[in-house]
Symmetry: C2
Subunit: 348 residues, 2 copies
């Protein structure tokens, strides 16, 4: 069933009856059902317990009725599995108490047997696939090497990212060593997820937008390209979301199917920039979900109109849903997309 789903077909720019929708962080704190689980277990325990991860992954499918599920996990399980001690407190953001800032620290990262140590993710994919029973496709994900490196080098939240940038400017050889090591890990990780049953994978480059275009090419994009060239997808779509980039031309040359777009761009402008070479995923401002229903409906309509109809649009927010978002508004948002994308006669 999954291969014929609206989501998979839209990712591949095939005909669909309406625009499919899923929401980044849809398995998250805005849902009371999620919070009920989270009250009993800490975040990492939830990631590491396949039954719990599967439970919260499936919740939004029943409650919000999105067209795809995304496996509950965190991008930082990779550095954690490399031996970095990770503290994941949602209110504080992730903290590594011993950040990686030189060649010696990079050499200490444990890359051997990584996928075995991440076996809980692979198990979570299998349990979730069973629970979904073909209702909607399951998306697996990974952080990009640059975004993972940013967290690993900074060690905690940053305003200006001066630590990681000083690192890449001062010791580019070490930076490239770290990024290459992470790229290899991501290839292995996403291929394992695909082999376990994920119907699509998304690469999150959350911190793409802090780099100049030249630095983005050197320190991020080349490693995303490296990964895309090595994925064994067997037809599963690959989505690349590079938040905050100013141009999509080079992203459009990647061996992937779909590009995520944040809310600071007109999705129609991006479609024109890349001549429709990829499906696009996005891009409503997540804060619009705090607005009255008329505004949510109007903005949904505006994004659909900006994309302009036809194949290749997966609706989403332009970034993750915020923790205090009202559930009712989120449900209404999904209804609007399902209804308006048909009403508008945007399809074949």
């Amino acid at each position: 069933m999954s291969k014929d789903s609206l989501f998979i077909r839209a990712c591949k720019r095939q005909e669909t009856e309406r625009t499919p929708v899923w929401i980044m962080r849809q398995a998250g704190r805005y849902l009371p059902e999620y919070r009920a689980v989270r009250e009993k277990y800490d975040f990492l325990t939830m990631c590491k317990t396949p039954e719990l991860a599967a439970e919260v992954t499936v919740q939004p499918i029943d409650i919000i009725k999105t067209d795809a599920a995304i496996l509950f996990s965190d991008i930082l399980v990779i550095p954690e599995a490399m031996g970095m001690h990770l503290e994941l407190v949602e209110s504080k953001g992730p903290i590594f108490d011993a950040p990686v800032r030189d060649a010696a620290a990079i050499d200490k990262l444990e890359t051997e047997g990584l996928i075995e140590r991440l076996g809980y993710v692979i198990d979570a994919v299998k349990v979730t696939k069973e629970r979904l029973a073909g209702r909607v496709p399951l998306i697996g994900f990974s952080g990009s090497p640059w975004t993972l490196a940013t967290y690993m080098v900074e060690g905690k939240g940053s305003k200006n990212f001066d630590v990681v940038k000083s690192f890449i400017y001062t010791d580019p050889a070490a930076a490239h060593k770290l990024l290459r090591l992470l790229a290899d890990a991501v290839v292995e990780y996403l291929n394992a997820k695909l082999a376990a049953g994920c119907d699509a994978v998304q690469i999150f480059d959350t911190w793409a937008g802090i780099l100049s275009p030249a630095d983005f090419e050197e320190f991020s994009l080349q490693y995303i390209r490296y990964i895309c060239d090595r994925l064994e997808t067997n037809g599963a779509p690959v989505i690349v979301f590079a938040k905050g980039v100013s141009s999509y031309a080079k992203l459009a040359e990647l061996k992937c199917d779909s590009l995520g777009v944040d809310w600071t761009k007109e999705i129609g402008d991006v479609r024109r920039e890349i001549n429709g070479a990829k499906a696009l995923q996005g891009n409503m401002d997540p804060t619009v979900l705090f607005a009255p229903k008329e505004k949510i409906r109007a903005e949904t309509e505006r994004v659909l109109a900006s994309y302009g109809g036809g194949a290749g649009h997966v609706f989403n927010l332009g970034h993750g849903i915020l923790p205090k978002t009202p559930v009712e508004n989120t449900r209404y948002f999904v209804e609007c997309i399902k209804e308006l994308s048909v009403e508008w006669g945007l399809f074949f």
Copy 2:
């Protein structure tokens, strides 16, 4: 002398012998001479004492040898002069303990006699002009209505700006009332600075980039346009810096001379996008100043090459200089621009 200065001519896209340079926040914490003053007085006292403001404004001209001075002040003196209690602690960011979040709070803002209460800024312009004695031009500045409103509504630093966005989406009429009131204040404020002797003015829209393109037009750009249409410049250049916008086409239609560009864009791409309609100011990543000198030199050269030579480039960072930036690197950066922009034969 000021009208013939490199900076003023470059802002007006007139011929120059080399690329002029100044640095956003050049009068700031990275300078030991600034910190020596700051140790004795709090930030607001420095803003409100013309002799102190003038002293730190002139420091970088002597130490870093930039081609323009920018009056030491803060964009939040406007809401402070409207009666909002402001706490300015550099390490914490600005805090308003009673944010403006509804029509009643907007009605309480004291707009009458505003410029009189901001007389200390006007006095600081006069004292600074005397101290500069025509060596370099003096830039005055203001926050844009949207950026001022963001601080006034949020009340403190924000990660997602959900408070101000909920406000504009839920009560757009009140939001527009606040923005219009601020636009009128900014017109009056910048005109007073120009009348007192500022040789140029810059409007900072620091939070432009958190809005979708449609919301940027509705809640920010129309008010910047309102201001630009009402400035009595008597030939002084007007610079608009809208950080994080994805397109410059509409900004290029403003009645202004120069547009600021942050480091996430190729300055040459922006020049092409607007067909050279405005001078451009920018755009090296501020964190490059933490790098070894070879990298600073290479990046300076890269930005000059991206702009591509000829008239209309004012070199700057893509955002304010960071507090821990080494002074020696900053001085070297300015030297590189002065040297390379001539060596490159980029000029007439």
